[in-house]
Assembly symmetry: C2
Homo-oligomer: 181 residues x 2
Amino acid sequence: MTPEFNCAVIAKTSGVFNRQGMTDAAGKQTSLEGQDAFLPPNTRRSLPIALLRAREAVMENFRPMLAAHDLTEQQWRVIRILAEQGVIDASEMADKAFILPPSLTRIIRTLEERGLISKLRDENDGRRVLLEITSSGLSIIEQVAPESKAIYERLQSRFGREKIDVLLDLLDELADLSQQS
Amino acid sequence: MTPEFNCAVIAKTSGVFNRQGMTDAAGKQTSLEGQDAFLPPNTRRSLPIALLRAREAVMENFRPMLAAHDLTEQQWRVIRILAEQGVIDASEMADKAFILPPSLTRIIRTLEERGLISKLRDENDGRRVLLEITSSGLSIIEQVAPESKAIYERLQSRFGREKIDVLLDLLDELADLSQQS
DNA sequence: GACTGTTATTTAACATGTTAACTTAAATTT
DNA sequence: AAATTTAAGTTAACATGTTAAATAACAGTC
């Protein structure tokens, strides 16, 4: 059963296509009623939007706390990964933080200007930019990390650890799937 | 078990903290080794990043096709929802497409300039902006929708419909959870 | 060692995300 | 009905996403 692509189901559940079928003042057709073959998948059960909604819902919990420390989500990811990993280069950071290189360039600039990280030269490869967290950056980590941990644990206990584990496994599998082909 | 917050586990699995413990040339401490209480959650099992990765992986499948039709993901969501729903106002669109009002304002402007949608006045409420898809917009829908459907079905068959259903249920539940509190 | 190709990073240009402030119209209050 | 409050959109300002092109350094070939 794949109701996502079935116009009849959409029409019945949305309740919009039931009243006379969407024509504007001039009587032109303004929706796709009766064109089942071309109807797009129902927005409500679409994976991209569901992933977006869930991500937004999760981030809502963290954003106020990060904003209080004047950090964006991406800036937090960068300094947190530096605290975990030590010195790494920009490419590795882009991979681990899932930030595209052009965005990372700007984020690095901002964080360096704020004195939270510093750039180092790689003696073996002049192309690479090595990143290191500063003591100032570490001190922010020490403030934010406990709050972040508390928020995550509250989320975990409300949603259920087992369900989060199942979810993480499914998400990883989905990501790995498209990674290959 | 919550290995996400256990420094020992991170140190063992990342293999980075094992060699002498991350000090820079001057000997200053540059990572959080030995500060378990402040260590952030392990990036690799974090819900926000997992959701981001999964979403990116899914969108990779659609983006080339949308780009071939000169559509961004968000523009496609807007005209698709108009095709499904008929005439709706901007607020309802923002809700259904999960696009923030300022972004939607710009997207509406772009789509109207391209002649894919048109704005109407709401006679009952002068504040509202009603949106309607044009015949030109419908014709794009008719081209893109079958391709979109094919891509989604390929994804479904590769990942498994049952697993997608389980995933969608978990994502919805997670989104609804944070929606309330 | 000059040529070619590849890799890491940056820049450019445009689109969207995010928060706050602003504008206008409706709805409420008094 | 005037004043206040609320709601819908927009604008502004800055941050990030996204793709393509440019730059610079490395790697391999001849």
